[in-house]
């Protein structure tokens, strides 16, 4: 029998047959769910929720893998379920393969749209000997008369086109107003679009929004082209300090990324960058400064202060960005040299500023920023966690591209794993690396100090010990995929840095792990990890899993909130003021904290 199947929130629709499991049906439609056990119902990773339609009954494996609350809510394991009618399914982000999660994560925004920039349609009488009002004043007069809204200034680049535009549009136009300034003039049917950008050290994410409805029209991700200048912010700052042309080059690359997003997103939404009348950019302090061409030397000299921390409103043209004539780019405030606007955006998106419990929110990356909100009283730190969890400096690390092992576990028979797009394994992406380390800890292969011990799969190779995940034999003679002693040390440093940050925050408030009510994990890497693996190595506090929430690119969501809501934009400024910043290096017992945090499983 042939049924219709509708997969949300990816929005994929198609047909399925009654003799294929929903896991197979989804895969045939190009929706790749995580499955480690290969459809045996034992790994419990291919969860989905049946929204409408009838399906086969729950199997014993499902009763074992799912809580009764989940079963009641319609949650099932896709590999165990067969359709009995047309079905509509919800695939939660955590059971999607990494690349697909990146596409859908965080597309919903839950605030009432109230954008700073508003569009007003105006119809004008043409000038005559009896009415010699100048063209610009003719527009502002109509705005006042037809909408009761005053306009105190018209941007120069709007003025530079006002006269021919009005005449070619037959005296009918759409005026974009921002705090009393006319920043754009369009033909009457143009949409009011906004651009939100999260400028990360490694990745750049962009969103095109309809400012009126608050809807996300398109989203897009790119690698930050500045990577050519170095992987981490310190290296890039040092390059920028070498010469003006180096820093200018980096500024141009950041701008190029934002421009590519604007162009690409508009193409997807059948618009042009000139229709973008407002933009919000968030990023860490270094990315923020490099994009704007601000000085960065003081970011690498103690006491590491930003050139500016307040929110900025910059004419897009002053940044070299070509969107609507007089549009501004709003940059959310920075908190400190290493706690930037992206952190503020995450706080905004996760609403921890308003927490009535104890909430820990962290964005794990090359630099990990952590905020502890103790009933809304916020303290933040920054930890130099390095790029190991992003696969850099790990022997078989790779991006979450086809063939990357994104999840794995050790079983008696060897290693069960899932690769991106089901392609033959080629390496490990971040979540796979974390799983690997966790499994080695749990199986006693690696001890608390990080030393790889004895195990049938451990071998000496190129002068160091390594754990063989997939041997040469498993790979038709190609080199083995392994975790080396050096890999473990890199990961230990990263884990240690993050755990130190968490401990410093807790101690500053006189709290311990047990006091934490919720842990929010944001960011590209953190959102796709297996939380229990992160707990197993001691990176995250050992709390029941339901205390954790993985929220995807919260910084991007925060940027979108600030784009479509004046209240949220003001809130961000307030948050930046309220957050207390702790410079980790100045914490009295920092050395002790750090060496304790280095221990695995601790």
């Amino acid at each position: 029998m042939l049924f219709r199947i509708d997969l949300e929130p990816v929005g994929r629709r198609g047909s399925c047959t009654s003799d294929a499991s929903l896991l197979e049906a989804a895969r045939q439609l190009g929706v790749d769910q995580v499955s480690l056990c290969g459809g045996k119902g034992t790994c419990g990773r291919c969860k989905l929720q049946v929204l409408t339609g009838r399906v086969s009954g729950a199997t014993p494996s499902e009763r074992k893998a799912l809580s009764s609350r989940e079963l009641e809510a319609g949650y099932r394991l896709a590999c165990q379920v067969y359709p009995l009618s047309d079905v509509k399914l919800f695939v939660p982000p955590e059971s999607l393969s990494t690349p697909q999660r990146t596409q859908v994560e965080g597309q919903e925004i839950a605030v009432a749209p109230d954008a700073l920039v508003r569009g007003y349609g105006v119809r004008l009488p043409p000038p005559s000997l009896e009415d010699l009002t100048a063209d610009a004043e003719r527009v502002t007069r109509a705005l006042e008369q037809q909408h009761g809204v005053p306009c105190s200034a018209v941007d120069l680049d709007v003025l530079r086109a006002v006269s021919p535009h009005l005449r070619s549009w037959n005296w009918h136009a759409l005026l974009s107003l921002r705090e009393g300034e006319c920043i754009a003039l369009h033909s009457p049917s143009t949409q009011q679009l906004g651009l939100a950008v999260d400028l990360g050290t490694t990745k750049v994410a962009g969103y095109l929004m309809d400012l009126y409805s608050g809807r996300t029209l398109a989203s897009m991700g790119l690698m930050n082209p500045q990577i050519a200048y170095g992987e981490d912010v310190i290296t890039r700052i040092q390059r920028a300090l070498e010469s003006h042309s180096e820093s200018e080059g980096m500024q141009k690359l950041a701008l190029q990324a934002v421009t590519e997003l604007a162009t690409g997103l508009c193409a997807e939404a059948d618009a042009i960058p000139n229709d973008i009348v407002d933009a919000v950019v968030v990023g860490n302090t270094a990315m923020h400064h490099l994009l704007l061409g601000l000085p960065v030397q003081q970011l690498v000299l103690a006491p590491y202060v930003p050139a500016v921390s307040s929110a900025l409103d910059i004419k897009a043209r002053d940044m070299g960005l070509h969107i609507a004539a007089g549009a501004y780019v709003h940059l959310l405030p920075n908190i400190a040299g290493y706690v930037g606007a992206d952190h503020v955006a995450m706080i905004l998106a996760t609403r921890v500023w308003n927490a009535d419990t104890v909430v820990l929110a962290l964005d794990i990356g090359t630099n990990t920023e952590i905020c502890l909100s103790n009933h809304g009283r916020m303290t933040s730190v920054s930890c130099a966690s390095g790029p190991a969890f992003e696969g850099a400096h790990i022997k078989h690390g790779m991006r979450a591209a086809a063939g990357a092992i994104e999840n794995l576990r050790l079983v008696d028979e060897g290693v069960e794993y899932h690769t991106v797009a089901g392609a033959p394994p080629a390496g490990l992406c971040g979540s796979g690396i974390l799983d690997a380390l966790a499994q080695l800890c749990l199986h006693g292969v690696v001890d608390m100090t990080g030393r790889i011990g004895q195990h049938p799969r451990v071998r000496e190779h190129d002068g160091q010990r390594e754990f063989v995940l997939l041997g040469e034999a498993d790979r038709d003679g190609r080199p083995a995929i392994t975790i080396t002693q050096k890999d473990v040390r890199e990961l230990q440093l990263a884990k240690g840095a993050i755990r130190t940050g968490i401990q410093a925050l807790l101690e500053a408030d006189g709290l311990s792990d047990d006091n934490i009510d919720e842990v929010i994990i944001a960011g590209a890497f953190g959102s796709y990890i297996d939380v229990s693996s992160a707990i197993a190595i001691g990176m995250l506090p050992s709390l029941p899993l339901e205390h954790f929430r993985q929220v995807g690119n919260a910084a991007g969501t925060g940027a979108r909130l600030a784009l479509i809501s004046r209240e949220q934009r003001a809130r961000a400024a307030d948050v930046a003021q309220r957050v207390r910043y702790i410079e980790l290096a100045s914490v009295p017992n920092f050395q002790e904290l750090f060496s304790r945090s280095m221990c695995l499983g601790e």
Copy 2:
């Protein structure tokens, strides 16, 4: 005997002997007074006022040439007076030779300085682990703490240098604030300078001001380099419409003139353009639009409206002008397509907005703008008077350079004249041309219709009649200097246009010449003419000479007022709103008015 002599307002000092007249003494010091009669005491042009010191008694010629009120006030004819002690003399602009008048005219400003941009010195504590405030916020915090003044924004280009600047100036800086925005940061001892520019079609005048004291530090004039694109605004607009590169070229030339002024004026005042924290530019509507790159097509299509008429505040960098990092350029408002910001500036400088009588103020140029203030109720017109009075299209016309005849009169023996710098005569500058026409009218050589009649000095040459001012014999065989029939026609058109404008204004208010209490003549040409000549040809109303006031470059003075005084800047906006504009071509009896105004002596 040797005495000290002090000549004001030119500020020239030196020695003189008791056997040289003050006319000779002044000339030896390089101060060139007008003298037609060659020191005989008959032409009455070399007036000056004795401020302090003793001089020889009044001669019969002086008693004839000067009124008793003038004699009481210490006015004398320089050619008749010999010093008896050290003397301090005031040489009124009208008795100075044209080039020297240009240097000194209108250097005094009589409003209390209260500039929009203010400088504040701040001393900052350097950042430390206990005080991690970002650099920009450190400055604004100090401003608030040390001066009680809030700062809501810091310009991007200021931010781009803030961190290295503060460190190199040892945490001590001068902040320039404009309406809550920090637009510049300088080392503590920098002056707060302002630039005022009158961008004329032919000439560009610039003034460098100390914003704190309101003093003019330097002034400078240039030819408008756009002249390469055409003499008058219509020609230039037509060129601009030919292609984008033409209009861009013209924009660049206007900008180049402003930049040259900024550089040249700063060099004179031992400063650099980066010290200029505010600027005001005035010009006619076409110059205004061409400088800003605004559309101009609608200026040459009925009903001739500007792209924008309100006052504008433009970031200098958006105009391409490099002064202080975040400085603005303020452009006074335009009134209509052919009554621009320079007219508003003239009204400001002459205070006719506040007149409690009937005042006519006019700025004579290629385009002549006239304002009638009837007890403060203002009406303005614009007349296309052409460049004849500037010497263009006149056979022997020339600029007021060495050798230009700037004043003349017909006497029985021939022609008495005075040339610029006393050089051998080479041609006629504007005031000389006007004098020549007036003399031809007064002596009946030219009749009311403009026809050159019979006279011993009239001859036929190159197919037209001409009046020989200086014959070939007077010039050692070089070509004669003449006024041709065609010259008279050109001047007649110019005179007719101006007179039509005056009549239209008077008729609109139901007034006639007799109702005018004061005539103010502004502008390069108008200020240096012999008013009685202008009356003789019927260009200006026939009123006693004491009703006329020649005020020099009033547009430049208005620009300076708006630069140093917020009240004056606001006043300009109010003036532009209040002025009623009459489109001359739409006046019902325009044709009749114009043909009547064409008559000479009428």
